[in-house]
């Protein structure tokens, strides 16, 4: 009896935790990741069976050996993730982060090559220019959506292509920016590169701190301001936000412009990074391919549940397995295995609700069975009675839950 009262208290706490919304979103994200990795492992098994185990091990742990790189590559996708997630909060699917990212990159690079500014100021102007480029490219789908009622998904996709073709053309036709025999952009002047954190053999720089600061700023905007209130209201119920006198058109344009600016910053951060080899810098190859970092942003945003704080962590995670993916090359797997894993994660994130249910159930069963085996040590008999007591308590909770999910 003494045992029972103790475990009841325990159950109550567990339910409080497993019942909370944030927790179930978290477990759902974990489940999506797990399924993505399992799928990746299966693909690896099919592709090359003997290497699959060390291969997946490399994917999972490779990043730990290159933490500075994980951070460096996390920064741009944190920004594209924020670009997707911020628009998501308003109910807009910004699949155009790629185009905005590319446009941001071009603007930043252009400023890097052709603006003659003192050290210390030059890179800041470049970053601002990148933001401007992305902003313009985000503004367009916003305007099309708000004023002409064109679905933002299609506009974004079309402007991914248009942006990519434009930037590639501009780069190839701008002398001083493009090295024709290498088919790549030239190295940026040192003054345009962002201050390094000084970690050897790594491009990690202060942009990670800027990115995290922006994420926190967005968190404050979303949860504490009237703009955030309007934005989320519009995302939940567009009709009601109109009814309440919110300027839906202005908010759509504003949100898309902000989202574009965020993705544009991602493009700037990625290409203004200092190189570990003096005199060089990150270069871009104009081969008419849409920037994958925009799509990685979708995965980041979904895993982070569109919350700016969640996105900080999910971007680091995605970057981690990406770095791991480069290690899997040692075992004969192409880097694209990670793209497969990431897209599978996106696929499973699409049924979050269902995943939450499954995750919750699985977790509870796990905890229950753990508890039962734990309890068996003390009293064999009580173990049967305990689950019954829990089932009794169940309906109360599930009612509340279901109401919350309607």
């Amino acid at each position: 009896m003494h045992n029972e009262s103790l475990s009841k208290k325990n159950v109550f706490h567990l339910k409080k935790i497993t019942g909370s919304k944030a927790f179930s979103t978290f477990t759902a994200a974990l489940l999506a990741i797990l399924l993505g990795l399992v799928f990746g492992f299966i693909v690896m098994l099919i592709a090359s069976p003997p290497n699959a185990v060390p291969g997946i091990f490399a994917v999972l742990t490779g990043g730990f050996r290159r933490i500075a790189d994980v951070i460096y590559y996390a920064t741009p996708i944190m920004m594209t993730g924020l670009a997707v997630g911020f628009a998501f909060k308003m109910g807009l699917f910004n699949i155009g982060a790629s185009g905005q990212y590319t446009m941001g990159m071009f603007f930043a690079m252009y400023a890097g090559f052709f603006f003659n500014l003192p050290r210390g100021l030059h890179w800041i102007v470049c970053v601002a220019m990148g933001m401007l480029g992305g902003l313009l490219w985000g503004l367009i789908p916003g305007v099309f959506k708000a004023l002409l009622n064109v679905n933002e998904v299609i506009t974004s996709i079309m402007f991914n292509y248009i942006g990519m073709f434009l930037v590639d053309m501009w780069i190839q036709t701008t002398p001083g920016m493009y090295v024709a025999d290498k088919a790549r952009t030239a190295y940026l002047p040192a003054s345009a590169q962002m201050p390094s954190l000084g970690i050897p053999n790594s491009g990690v720089n202060i942009s990670i701190f800027i990115a995290i600061a922006i994420a926190i700023l967005l968190f404050i905007v979303l949860s504490k301001t009237t703009f955030g209130y309007e934005l989320k209201a519009t995302g939940y119920n567009r009709h009601a936000s109109t009814y309440a006198g919110m300027n839906g058109k202005r908010n759509i344009i504003l949100t898309m412009a902000i989202a574009g600016a965020l993705a544009g910053l991602g493009g700037a951060f990625a290409f203004l990074a200092p190189s570990s080899i003096p005199g060089s810098s990150v270069t871009y190859e104009p081969i008419n391919v849409i920037a994958p970092n925009g799509f990685n942003g979708i995965a980041v945003a979904l895993l982070g549940n569109s919350s700016p704080i969640g996105i900080i962590f999910s971007s680091v995670f995605i970057s981690h397995i990406q770095r791991g993916g480069t290690q899997a090359r040692l075992f004969g797997y192409e880097y694209e295995i990670i793209d497969v894993v990431i897209s599978v994660i996106i696929y499973f994130s699409a049924f979050v609700m269902l995943m939450q249910e499954v995750a919750k159930k699985a977790l509870r069963q796990l905890l229950d069975s753990l508890k039962r085996s734990f309890g068996k040590k003390g009293a064999e008999k009580a173990s049967d009675a305990q689950p019954a007591a829990e089932i009794m308590a169940e309906p109360e909770l599930s009612e509340v839950e279901k109401e919350g999910q309607k």
């Binding site: 504490k224 599930s398 009612e399």
Partner: protein
């Protein structure tokens, strides 16, 4: 006698998350009778019929046809047993023709190809037999609500159904159309079909039904013969107490004009014509003006134009002396307009927000609730607490309750509280009591009257004739986008109102006075 029952629903129980919709309900339908199913909104009538029609499955209990137990797992099973249903919200595909809608699901085919001619002949036969006139080649979106209902009835006949369920069929009809429908129902009964007639209108039951089963809060209160009962007894059975149907209110004391509408036209979202045509009227401080009419005659569009949800194509709207024809919604709100919208879940509330966040939905931008763009959460909380108290809004967790989890009545109370407490001169309320139970209806009517007594102008759009007659000081009737009559509820009758609503009668004299 027992052999006479064509359908028996015995001890039906159906539980939805959080609510027992049907609790041990029994309903027996005799062959050839018109059996009324009476109950308030939310009493479980629709659930019970959805079970009979195979849309839901009962958790316990059984259904018998002619004494034999049957399983009804889907509408196909119901159809095979001869059970058909006219749903309250018509189940018609708007972009299909009448013919396509009637044959859908039971199409005559040859090698998978549709045989439209065959279907057409079959439908014409029934159409002539019962005098149900329809245009088979018209699109549903182009025909009147009355004709849409005839399409639904023909759907049942086309399937040779002998048990016909009518779910609130009179809500969308004029009094004259209601008479016609009742005649058709009697005709069906005479030809041996059995009818279940779902309603909450007592007069209609007294006029047409043979027997009546009453539900209250999911439970079966009893079945009575109409011959042996009275309206008062039925209403007691339905509500569980005596109710006064009339609203107690003093005579109106109209002051100056608050809202003035002149020659207003509003385009239709579906058709090329205007949904509202050249409408003019005034609403004064201290009076309740009701716009009566059958749903779909331009009321929704009129309100959208008044409240700014849609742009008018012509005319002017003046509120408190200011021309607001092209003003933004926020501006109208600032000028003194409050709006209780028709669809509370679509327009009125953000269901995933908390109650307190919803209560400031019209005011969050005011200095009281924000400082340089940052929300003042403490002010929001104390304001919400006051409204919850004052308007008796019940919820699980008070201000932080997610509105989605609240009952319909309390959701509506939250909207009423928000709109009445806001500084306003004019209240526009559309169907303010739709889908609520008697207690909530009485409450909201009282609030509307006290708002009037506080000197506000109140404009109500309602499709419920009783509500219109009870609460208004003045009635404007809308028909096909025009105001066809202005009536005084004290001197007019429901029948006269009906004539205006159906377009049979119109007075142009009053209209002239606004020109």
């Amino acid at each position: 006698m027992e052999d006479n029952y064509i359908i028996e629903m015995l001890n039906i129980t159906k539980v939805f998350p959080g609510i027992v919709a049907n609790d041990n309900v029994t309903l027996r339908l005799k062959k050839g009778e018109i059996h009324a199913l009476l109950g308030e909104n939310g009493a479980g009538k629709s659930t019970l019929m959805s079970i009979l029609f195979g849309l839901y499955q009962a958790d316990s209990g059984e259904i018998r046809k002619n004494g034999k137990v049957v399983k009804i797992n889907n509408p196909n099973d119901a159809n095979a047993l001869g059970i058909g249903m006219v749903h309250q919200h018509f189940k018609l595909v708007e972009i299909f023709t009448v013919l396509e809608n009637i044959m859908l699901g039971d199409e005559p085919t040859k090698l998978g190809f549709l045989q439209r001619k065959q279907a057409r002949e079959r439908i014409m036969k029934f159409s002539q037999q019962y005098g149900l006139e329809v245009n088979l080649d018209a699109l549903i979106e182009d025909i009147s609500v009355g004709m849409q209902q005839r399409v639904e009835i023909l759907k049942m006949l086309y399937r040779d159904n002998e048990i016909l369920i009518f779910d609130e069929p009179t809500a969308v009809l004029t009094p004259q159309e209601i008479d016609d429908l009742m005649e058709i129902m009697r005709e069906f009964a005479r030809s041996g079909k059995s009818i279940i007639f779902i309603t909450h209108k007592l007069n209609e039951i007294m006029a047409v039904a043979d027997r009546c089963t009453v539900l209250r809060k999911g439970k079966c209160v009893g079945t009575v013969n109409i011959k042996d009962t009275t309206k008062e007894e039925l209403s007691r059975m339905m509500v569980g107490r005596d109710v006064s149907f009339s609203v107690n209110k003093a005579d109106a004391n109209p002051g100056e004009v608050v809202l003035s509408v002149r020659n207003l036209s509003v385009p239709s979202s579906i058709h090329k014509t205007n949904a509202v045509r050249n409408v003019s009227f005034d609403v004064r401080a201290g009076e309740i003006v009701c716009i009566a009419g059958i749903d779909g005659n331009g009321q929704t569009e009129l309100v959208y134009a008044l409240t700014g949800l849609e742009r008018p194509s012509g005319g002017t709207i003046t509120l408190c002396g200011r021309d607001i024809t092209r003003a933004s919604i926020r501006n109208r709100s600032k000028t003194g307009m409050s709006h209780i919208p028709e669809d509370r879940q679509k327009h009125g509330l953000i269901l995933d927000y908390t109650l307190e966040e919803n209560l400031v939905l019209q005011r969050y931008w005011q200095p009281e609730f924000q400082n340089k763009g940052f929300i003042r959460f403490d002010a929001m909380r104390s304001y919400a607490t006051r409204l919850i108290d004052q308007y008796d809004i019940r919820s699980g967790q008070g201000p932080v309750t997610i509105v989605r989890s609240m009952s319909g009545g309390n959701q509506q109370k939250a909207i009423v509280a928000r709109e009445l407490d806001k500084d306003h001169k004019l209240l526009v309320a559309v169907q303010p009591t739709r889908g609520l139970d008697v207690g909530a209806i009485e409450y909201i009517h009282r609030q509307l009257v006290s708002d009037r007594d506080a000197g506000k102008a109140v404009l109500i759009v309602s499709f419920e004739l009783d509500e219109v007659m009870d609460i208004s000081d003045r009635i404007l009737v809308m028909y096909e986008g025009e105001i066809v009559g202005e009536l005084d509820p004290k001197t007019t009758t429901v029948q006269e109102l009906g004539l205006y609503m159906s377009g049979a009668k119109r007075s142009t004299v009053k209209e002239m006075s606004y020109a």
